[in-house]
Symmetry: C2
Subunit: 506 residues, 2 copies
């Protein structure tokens, strides 16, 4: 094979990947539009368009053309000739290709239909708080996933294969270890806090806040955090999200509630964290399959870093409390920074994951993780889920759901078969604390930067060490590269202990 | 050929057309997004995505697959077996297919590059008011179009082939006749008005108007005119437009100017007219190539019918003047409906087409039409355009541009090679008057409906006679069907005479 042929092959491969990327961008924009005000009556046909282009993406990803390129570049001597970016592009495509090719097309189509029906069934079941209505769907979904794992193959625990979809390289062995550690420290800390009987004064948050002023504050905050409005926009939606269409177009959405100023404020900062990641991926990766966050866990580490480590810090509010007072005249006059800081960080066992605080949140995740493991290896039967769920809430958080709607039916994830996704949220918290620890060592005066609202050095640090790489590096490579060690839950434990002991005066 | 084979062919053909339609819908949404707030830094890659999908549309339209279907269905006995919709779908595809196939691919690519460069050159030339900078581009564009016409073929005048792209079936012969008639009546009428020395009191329009209030008024008006917000949305843009993505998603944009309340108000009603057309096409045509307005002229007849025939009528303002007063407190207190009516209908020869009034507008179009004809058949040389342009303005409107920017360089159309498009605007005015005349005969109390703000019967009439058909009927078929005769400029002449003689007390 001459070097010209090699170049021709490489150009062809890159062009195909670019085409897939372009189609995904169009689909991404249509999803954004659906969630930010697309007219109701156009949705049915729009869904067909999305289906058409998504099917085309799938076809290209498993096409003979793609197969030929992968056969060629997966040959050892060819793979070794590739530059770093191209090599990783090939490996990512190969992973997708194998994954898709191993599932018989008919089986996959059945699964797609099942999950779309299951989401409707879940909605109804949740509405009526009746798990039995969802159970037959979930049983089939679990069975499909068990079969998929057999077809895909696995090393060690079967659940590893599912974890790997969201967090490449993550294993049950590692998760058991880190979650075990985390749980052994968080549960006693929570008990100690509860025993203390202390409760921050939350009255400052229990007011009505003008929605237009909330919007102005969210917009102001995005500017402060160096969100690039020339490469994004802020819109309203029911379920907030960030979406990176391309590195120059990373959009955020927020939901504003009159009776809850915290929701939009921290929601916006959370999505800003996701967006900063996507806005700062190297332009060299634009149009490739590496131009996104490297994993759900690392992505979530950034949303949570900016939301919690920065946005819920005392330093942050020492800077922005006055702006908050100015934005909502008369509504924060009776309190000081300290009261606000404690109010936005109060902790309390609760039943609903998405409303949980920074300390208890991880316990919600561990419950789901253990249930998913059990479902996939057959230790837990779907029929028993409500019982298992409630028992675990009692065990981990000391409280029990009164019905399925506030218990086992609360999350949409399982109706879509997204087993392996939940751990990302807790991994994000752990990664974030580990990165924070390292940043406090590396960046002089880290706390003062936050207190000055000078976030550029922090964003630049994260860009240099994390953001720019996109999917070029795997999560574990990122963590090693930044912190010099692999994922270590001790940083989150220390962070939570320090923070909450101080807040609750323990 | 068995009937099963026939069905298989028809299903395949329809599926291909549907796929093309889906791709166009995705492209349409991306264009809408670009014009309503897509972040600047994402535009470059987004343009690539648009290019990718548009190229795919072109490929599908001229594919061997399409060619086979057309070969099959264009056979007389097969064409005769088709239902009305499928038959028209085939004929439309055949027209596109032949048109595209007749241009060598390389030539077409050169042309695409040329026109994209020409637009930039035109912008600069306009900015500097220097026609010489645009001249070499325009010369090439004219030459390309002359060649295209030779390749496509023509009947009678060469310009007919270009006209047919925007107004199927329209000819120079017909246009010369109707424009001749129109001109012979409008020019003396305008002279009479000018000689009268009368000028309506325009002071009520020369105020500043709060933009938020303008927005509220536009939104209110759309509701009154039965624009379906569940099948559309209103956004802001620099150059207002309406875009029908599918019949359930027809979007409008408006531009609000603080110093000009008329611009947004009539701009919104104008786009609403386009949107009402697209929102009310029969659902049976959704996903086909017939699901849009039948021609530029008929489309424009609807925007102009709602903007001018309805929105600038005395009856309309007898209903909405109070709402206008309420919306802008204190700003219309000193005048009455009559003053407003005369102000929004004042006429005056002017240099800029897009700012021209209902009476003089058509003269701007005739000038362009005559120049285009001359350019295509070689009677007019590009180098002489500024002179020709200025002479014609002097002749038709009695005024002369002082520079190219307010003269020959004012419109973007020629930089994109859109010869044949301009007549649509004047055709729209003529169709609208002809439809109005018929409606006043067919709908009892037409004027009272307008004065009551009861537009549903009018919208329903237009839906029944025009909107529902989409492209199923050609423009001339529509006009014949609705009015029982072909395009007749007398209705516009009568309408203009009545209206302006009354306003100017002649």
């Amino acid at each position: 094979m001459s070097s010209t042929d090699f170049t021709v092959q490489l150009d062809g491969f890159k062009q195909l990947v670019r085409k897939i990327n372009h189609y995904n961008e169009a689909v991404g924009l249509m999803y954004w539009d659906l969630r930010t005000g697309a007219p109701r009556k156009g949705v049915e046909q729009r869904s067909e368009v999305i289906g058409e282009l998504s099917t085309e993406v799938f076809r290209m990803s498993v096409s003979d053309e793609m197969g030929c390129y992968l056969d060629f570049f997966m040959q050892h001597h060819n793979l070794n000739q590739l530059d770093e970016v191209s090599r990783k592009m090939v490996l990512e495509c190969k992973k997708d290709y194998d994954r898709s090719k191993k599932i018989p097309e008919k089986k996959y189509q059945e699964y797609v239909i099942l999950t779309s029906q299951a989401e409707t069934a879940w909605e109804e079941a949740k509405e009526e708080s009746d798990f039995a209505k969802f159970q037959p769907y979930l049983e089939k979904i679990v069975k499909f996933n068990q079969e998929f794992v057999e077809l895909w193959g696995y090393e060690g625990n079967k659940y590893n294969t599912l974890l790997d979809m969201y967090e490449p390289g993550m294993t049950v062995e590692k998760l058991d270890e880190v979650f075990g550690k985390l749980r052994s420290e968080v549960v006693p800390l929570l008990a100690e806090i509860q025993k203390s009987g202390q409760q921050p004064d939350l009255s400052c948050l229990k007011q009505e806040f003008d929605v237009d002023k909330q919007k102005a504050f969210s917009r102001f905050m995005l500017g402060e955090l160096n969100y690039d409005f020339a490469a994004g926009r802020l819109d309203e939606t029911v379920h907030p999200f960030a979406t990176g269409l391309n590195p120059g177009d990373v959009r955020i959405t927020t939901r504003y509630l009159k009776e809850d100023v915290v929701s939009a404020l921290f929601g916006t900062i959370h999505e800003c964290g996701h967006a900063l990641y996507e806005q700062n991926i190297s332009k060299d990766l634009a149009g490739t399959n590496l131009c996104s966050g490297t994993s759900m866990g690392i992505h979530e580490s950034q949303s949570r870093f900016w939301e919690n480590k920065i946005g819920r810090s005392h330093e942050f509010w020492s800077k922005y409390f006055r702006k908050l007072q100015e934005t909502f005249p008369g509504q924060f006059d009776e309190i000081n920074v300290d009261t606000l800081y404690k109010a936005i960080n109060h902790t309390e066992p609760s039943l609903i994951r998405i409303e949980a605080d920074e300390l208890t949140y991880n316990l919600h995740i561990m419950i789901r993780y253990e249930i998913e493991k059990g479902l996939i290896d057959g230790d837990i039967q779907v029929a028993n889920l409500p019982k298992v769920w409630n028992a675990k809430y009692k065990e981990y958080l000391g409280i029990e759901p009164q019905n399925d709607s506030e218990g086992v039916l609360q999350d949409v994830h399982w109706s879509g078969g997204s087993f392996g996704y939940f751990p990302s949220y807790a991994l994000g918290n752990m990664y974030a604390a580990q990165f924070l620890h390292k940043m406090e060592e590396d960046i002089l005066d880290f706390d003062n930067l936050v207190a000055d609202g000078n976030f550029k050095p922090i964003k630049n640090y994260l860009t240099e060490h994390i953001y720019q790489y996109g999917k070029l590096l795997d999560p574990n490579e990122i963590v090693q590269k930044v912190t010099g060690e692999e994922l270590n839950p001790q940083y989150l434990v220390d962070y939570l202990k320090n923070k909450y002991k101080s807040i609750y005066g323990l």
